[in-house]
Symmetry: C2
Subunit: 417 residues, 2 copies
Amino acid sequence: MQCTIITIGDEILIGQTIDTNSAWMAQQLNFIGIKVFEILSVSDDSAHITNALNRAMQTSQIILTTGGLGPTKDDITKNTLARYFNAELVFVDTVWQDIAAFLTKRGLTALDSFKTMAYLPANCEVIKNQQGTAAAMWFNEQGKILVSMPGVPHEMKDFMSRIVLPRLQNELQLPAIVHKTIMCVGIGESFIAEKIKSVEDSLPSHIKLAYLPNYGVVKLRLSGTGAHTKQITEEVNHWTAEIDHILRPKYAYGYDEEDLTEAIGKLLMERNAMLVTAESCTGGLIAHQITAIAGSSRYYKGGVVVYSNELKQALLGVSPNTLLQHGAVSEETVRQMAQGALARMEAQYAVAVSGIAGPGGGSPDKPVGTVWIAVASATEVRTKKLQLARNRSINIELSANLALAELRKLILGVDGK
Amino acid sequence: MQCTIITIGDEILIGQTIDTNSAWMAQQLNFIGIKVFEILSVSDDSAHITNALNRAMQTSQIILTTGGLGPTKDDITKNTLARYFNAELVFVDTVWQDIAAFLTKRGLTALDSFKTMAYLPANCEVIKNQQGTAAAMWFNEQGKILVSMPGVPHEMKDFMSRIVLPRLQNELQLPAIVHKTIMCVGIGESFIAEKIKSVEDSLPSHIKLAYLPNYGVVKLRLSGTGAHTKQITEEVNHWTAEIDHILRPKYAYGYDEEDLTEAIGKLLMERNAMLVTAESCTGGLIAHQITAIAGSSRYYKGGVVVYSNELKQALLGVSPNTLLQHGAVSEETVRQMAQGALARMEAQYAVAVSGIAGPGGGSPDKPVGTVWIAVASATEVRTKKLQLARNRSINIELSANLALAELRKLILGVDGK
C-alpha cells in the first residue's frame, strides 16, 4: 500500500516555510502500515499540480495533498482537482453556513470572497473543518483514494487523526499495527543495545525495535504487525515489559513521547515534594523545560540563573573561597549551588548545573564542554561530571536533559552511577 | 533559471527526519535569483532516484541532490549517478587521504569500508568535504548542472555557501540580487505597513518588500534585482535607510536575522551596564534566550524564576499585601518584581514578567493570556499589559519577546507607548 504526499504552495519552494506537515503525515501513515513512496512540493500552478497528480496516480494507491484551499486567487487546488476529475463545482450550503459561523464567532465578517470556499467538486465527499474554514475533500476515482486537505498544520492534523487515518485503516483492511515507545534518558543507545541484547535477539520477526536518540533522550520504539489488534497489543505489551524489566526505573522514564519534565513532575507530586533549580551554563533552559508543562506550579517553586560568580554567592551562598580555589565549574561549586538552592528556596529537591558551554571560556584543565551537575535532597547530594564536545546550543540542551536524568534517579532513590 | 531539489533517504519518507535542508536551500537559491521548481523526497532506491533524475532533467537547468553518500550499503546515490551518466567509478586517492585524516583526527579508525567513499564517477568534478567525510560531486551533463551533496545539514550548508551558490551565480551570469532584512519588534505587521506606506508606495518595481512575522518579531526583507551589484546595493541601502528613518530606533533593532537578545547585549555593553531578569510565566525562557548568545556573561548577571508567590517574596521582596490585594498577575506585583530584581541582584537594568500562560489559571477578571511586563532602570520603571489569546507555548514565546522589546526601549530612552 503506497502513498504519495503532495504539498502545494509557493511558500515552501521559496524556503519561507519548512515543510513539517509531510514528516508528521509520513510518520502517521507508517504507523498504520502505509508506505510513503514520495513527497512532492509543487507551486500554486495548475499545470504543475496536474502533472504531480498524474505522476502520483501512476505509483500510488493513496494520494494526500495539502495546501491551496484558501479564499485568495492563488489558492487553486480545488479548481484543479475539479478539472482533473471532469467534475463541476457545486455550492454546498452547509459548508457556507459553517464558514460564516466560524468567522462570526471570531468577530470577523463573512465576506462574499469566502463564498468561493463553499464551491466544491461534485464528485468528492466533503469533510467539514472543525478547526478552521476550508473543507477537506475525499475522492474515490480510478481505483485510487485522493484526499485534499488545508495546509494549516493543526487543521491538517485534525483531519488526519479524526477521519483520514481511521478510514484508510478501515477501508483498506490494513493489518493491525501497534506501537509502543519506551522513553529513556541518561544512557547512550549503544549501552542500551548491550543491556537489552538478549531481548532484542528473541524478538519475533513481526515485532521491530527502533532506536531514536535526541539530546540525551533515547526513544525505543516497538512496532508489531499482525492480523488482530488485540493479540498484537498483548505481544507488544509483553516485549515492552521485558525491556522495562531491564531499563526501568533507572533509565526508562515513560512511554509514547512523554516529556522528561512531565515524568519528573508526576514523581514530585506523588511525593508531595517541591523542586527548585540553580542554573549557570544551562542559563534557564531547565526552568523553561519544567514550566513548559501546564500545571508545573504544583511541584516547581522556581529557581535562579546565576550566570555571574557574584550571584552564585548572593543568591545561593556559594563560598568565595570555593570559587577562588576550584572555580565556578567544579564539583565543590555545583554542590554548594544545589545545597544553597535547597536551603534558601526551601524545597525538597534541587538540581544545579555549572559548565562551559562554549565556544569561549575553555582552558586546558577545563575544556569547552566540561559540565558539573549536582542534585540534592534533604539527606543526599550527588554530583556528576560531563565531558561534552559539541557546539554551544547542543551542550546546553544535553546538560539540561542529563541533569534532569540525575534528578530523577535521586527522587527514585536508584543508584546514580 | 529553474532548479529541482531532490532529497534522497528513507528517514524522510518514514517521517523520522523533518526536511529542513530543502527549505534552507530554496531560500538561498531564491536569494541569488534561482527559482525552485520542485522539491522531491525519494527513497534509497536506485530505480526511484533514476526516475526522479529523469523528471528533474526535463524541467530544470539545475539539479541539487542531498543524501545517500555515506559508507553503508543503503547509500547508493553515487553508484546511481555513475550509471545514470554511463561513467566509471575511479578511486581518488586525495579524497581517501582526506577521509583517513578526518577520521584519525577524531580518534576513529579509517576502516576499509570507508574506502568506497573515495570511489567517485569519472565524469564529475570532486569537491572536497571540509566538515565531514563524503565528497560532493559537480556534474555538467546534457547542458545541465547537477550537484550531489551529503545530507548532513552543516556539511551541505558549507558546500552550498562556499562553492555551489557563488559558482552558480558566476557561471550562469545571474542578475545581481541584493537582500537586506530589517528586524523589528514590538509592533504588528499591519501597523508597520501603515507607518511605511509612503515608502512602500514609492519603491521601484525592481525592489520588493516582504513582511515575515514570528512571535512578535517582524522581519522586513528588501530584495533588489538589477544588472550591477554595486548599484543595486546602493539602492537597497537607500530604501533601508528610508524605512529605518521611520522605524528606528523604536521598533527596528537590527539587520539580517540578528537575535533581539544579541541587539540588547550590544546596547548594554555600550553602556557598560548589567542586566537581570525576574520571570514568572515565561519560566526562564528570557534567561535562556539571553544566554543562548555566546559571551552574554559580559552583560547578563543572571535572574530568578519565581513561579511561586513565596519566592516572589523571598527572592524579590514583593510585598505579601500586594500579592493579596492585586494578585500575582498585576501591575503592582510586576513592578515590585523588577525593582526587587534590580536592588537585590545589583544591576543597571531589570525585566520582569508575570502572567497567565494557560490553559488553566484564568478567571473572568484575568483570562488566560493576561500578562504584565515591567522594565526598570535606576531612575525609571515602565509597565505594560498584554492581552494574548493563544496556547501556552505561544503565550510564553510572545511574552518573552515583547518584554525584551520594552526593555530595549527603556535602555534606548525612547517612548514606551
